[in-house]
């Protein structure tokens, strides 16, 4: 087997094995979005947001947002987990293998996306039980596509951060100052047109906005932008982020 392909496969397989072996982590990472889903829908289902299509239930509106959140959190965390590997020495072991760094980066990226995706699929299943309507299989597949694109973008962001950061002290800071704002400024919980103009423009530069909007287009047939436009923007952003991620990773320090 080609060493580089083997490295990508190995890192992906490693991510899968670690994922399956930590049920507490799976529960933990699915539980938070799930609680958001339950409590937000319990409280907001009777609220009428201006700009929300009148024939749409709040829960159907919220689920794409929560799926976006789940992908955002899981993918960024997966990217940043590079820090742990550096701390615990496993990164050295991988980096001195006779393979290109880009293969290592791709392996990590695919592993991160897959774990984030599996968690989000669990979330879809739970959501069905509390009244979410999937619509057609096609809708679901399109939404999966958007989830993967969101995953690509944010695993890359996580990798970029972990490549630049040298210790784990700043991890909580990033969580609070990057991930939460990205979540709240994506239209995940309410339609972005209720926001003041300035804030609304900020949501337009958030890639997550397009991911969530695209999923709403797939599930509800009610989106701000056409689905193809959402896919295009998110796809381009993801590509740019992967490229920056590859560059940052190629310069990343191996040891602490």
């Amino acid at each position: 087997m080609n060493k580089d392909i083997a490295a990508v496969y190995m890192l992906w397989l490693r991510a899968m094995k670690r994922f399956i072996r930590s049920p507490s982590q799976i529960i933990g990472s699915v539980a938070m979005p799930f609680l958001f889903l339950i409590f937000l829908s319990a409280g907001f289902s009777s609220v009428k947001f201006p700009g929300m299509p009148s024939n749409v239930n709040y829960i159907d509106f919220l689920v794409p947002g929560i799926l976006g959140m789940s992908m955002l959190f899981a993918a960024t965390t997966a990217g940043i987990s590079l820090l742990w590997d550096r701390q615990f020495g496993f990164l050295k072991e991988v980096m001195v293998a006779p393979v290109k760094r880009i293969s290592i980066m791709l392996g990590r990226t695919f592993g991160g996306i897959t774990t984030a995706f599996l968690q989000s699929v669990l979330l879809v299943i739970f959501a069905i039980f509390i009244g979410f309507h999937i619509g057609s299989i096609l809708s679901l597949l399109i939404a999966f596509g958007f989830m993967i694109l969101i995953g690509l973008a944010f695993v890359s962001i996580g990798l970029i951060i972990a490549s630049i950061m040298t210790d784990m002290q700043g991890f909580g800071l990033i969580l609070n100052l990057l991930i939460f704002p990205l979540f709240f400024l994506s239209g995940a919980i309410y339609p972005i047109n209720v926001l003041p103009n300035v804030v609304r423009y900020i949501t337009y530069i958030n890639p997550l906005t397009y991911g969530i909007d695209g999923m709403r287009g797939a599930f509800l047939h009610a989106s701000i932008f056409p689905i193809w436009f959402d896919a295009l923007v998110l796809g381009i952003v993801a590509l740019i982020l992967i490229s920056i991620g590859a560059l940052a990773f190629s310069k990343a320090k191996i040891t602490i």
Binding site: Y9, Q87, F88, F90, P98
Partner: protein, 332 residues
């Protein structure tokens, strides 16, 4: 003569700090070469440079015939490394750690199974293969890391403090593996250590490294021979006493040389049994009381003191390194 490692004028700087200060050495094929020095002497930095983990500042370094800066992949393909710090994934089993490593080195499935089984046998971990690493003891992890370093049948094996933090028995066990490897595969081994008896036990040649420089490099036997005669080791109350006594002894010309390390005076003499009475006389005349005295043939420890002017143990326990070690192991 075929060389597995060839280094000339290697320099590594971190800002203004010079970690490796122009070292040169060669390691012959099939040789076990030791780097002996205290923590922070530049051993690990040198190993990291030779294993392509960090970029050198200047100088030349060839491993297995390839320039380590220009042909990283070729070098990586031909070496095995056991790092000083743990580097296993503890949410995987022992077998998986080895299997993943072998995959990345391009081994086919059948070959992987065969080699893993052979190496697990060698490090006596076959019955623990399917246990998660988090359940392994420190010694077991070390042995597994050594097995992992050998999976690709490296031409050169780098062992960076392979026995640190292990008990004496496990330590000896690991050193014996390394010795047997050399016999079995004619593998070149570069081992760093700050345990003198270890270097003495296993190495064909030893380089004593201190403050980023190689102070001396030879076989343990020759190094000890350089200090022909005996050494009288006297423990005194304090350093001042040691210095006073050393002065007197030098004046009387009964010793070849003296060295002081804290409150211990090392006196190198031709024949300790005839010098010792004189030595004691001088001490009592000066009114310096001796807490403890012993005489013996010079050990590698004495060689170290002779060349660096300090005992290797002075450097121990002071560093953050040991602290970090403990923290890291706890966090796992």
């Amino acid at each position: 003569m075929e060389y597995s490692i060839k280094v000339s004028n290697l320099v590594k700087k971190y800002g203004s700090f010079i970690a490796v200060d122009g070292i040169s050495f060669e390691v012959k094929k099939g040789e076990i070469f030791g780097f002996l020095g205290p923590n922070g002497a530049g051993k690990t930095t040198t190993v990291h440079t030779l294993t392509t983990i960090i970029e050198k500042t200047s100088g030349d370094a060839f491993v297995a015939g390839y320039d380590v800066s220009k042909y990283k992949e070729q070098v990586r393909d031909r070496i095995g490394i056991v790092f000083q710090d743990p580097s296993l994934d503890d949410r995987l089993t022992g077998y998986e750690n080895l299997d993943f490593h072998a995959m990345v080195y391009g081994l086919a499935k059948g070959e992987r199974e065969e080699r893993i089984s052979e190496l697990l046998d060698m490090v006596e971990l076959k019955d623990k293969a399917n246990l998660l690493i988090s359940k392994y003891s420190g010694g077991m992890r070390r042995r597994l890391e050594i097995a992992r370093g050998l999976l690709n049948r490296p031409e050169v094996l780098f062992l960076d403090e392979p026995t640190i933090g292990l008990d004496v028995q496990t330590r000896r066990h690991i050193l014996d593996y390394v010795k047997s490897l050399k016999e079995k595969y004619n593998m070149t081994v570069l081992i760093t250590t700050h345990y003198i008896e270890e270097a003495d036990y296993i190495c064909d040649r030893v380089a004593i490294i201190d403050k980023g420089k190689i102070v001396v490099c030879d076989t343990p036997k020759n190094l000890k021979k350089g200090l022909e005669g005996d050494v009288i080791i006297a423990k005194l109350h304090n350093k001042d006493n040691a210095m006073k006594l050393a002065n007197k002894i030098n004046k009387e010309h009964i010793a070849k040389s003296t060295k002081i390390s804290n409150n211990i005076l090392y006196t190198y003499v031709k024949d300790a049994s005839s010098i010792l009475p004189k030595f004691m006389n001088i001490a009592s005349k000066e009114g310096i009381s001796i807490e403890n005295i012993e005489m013996r043939n010079p050990s590698l420890e004495d060689v170290f003191i002779h060349y660096t002017g300090k005992s290797i143990r002075d450097e121990e326990g002071s560093g953050n390194e040991s602290m970090r070690e403990i923290v890291m192991r706890r966090m796992r």
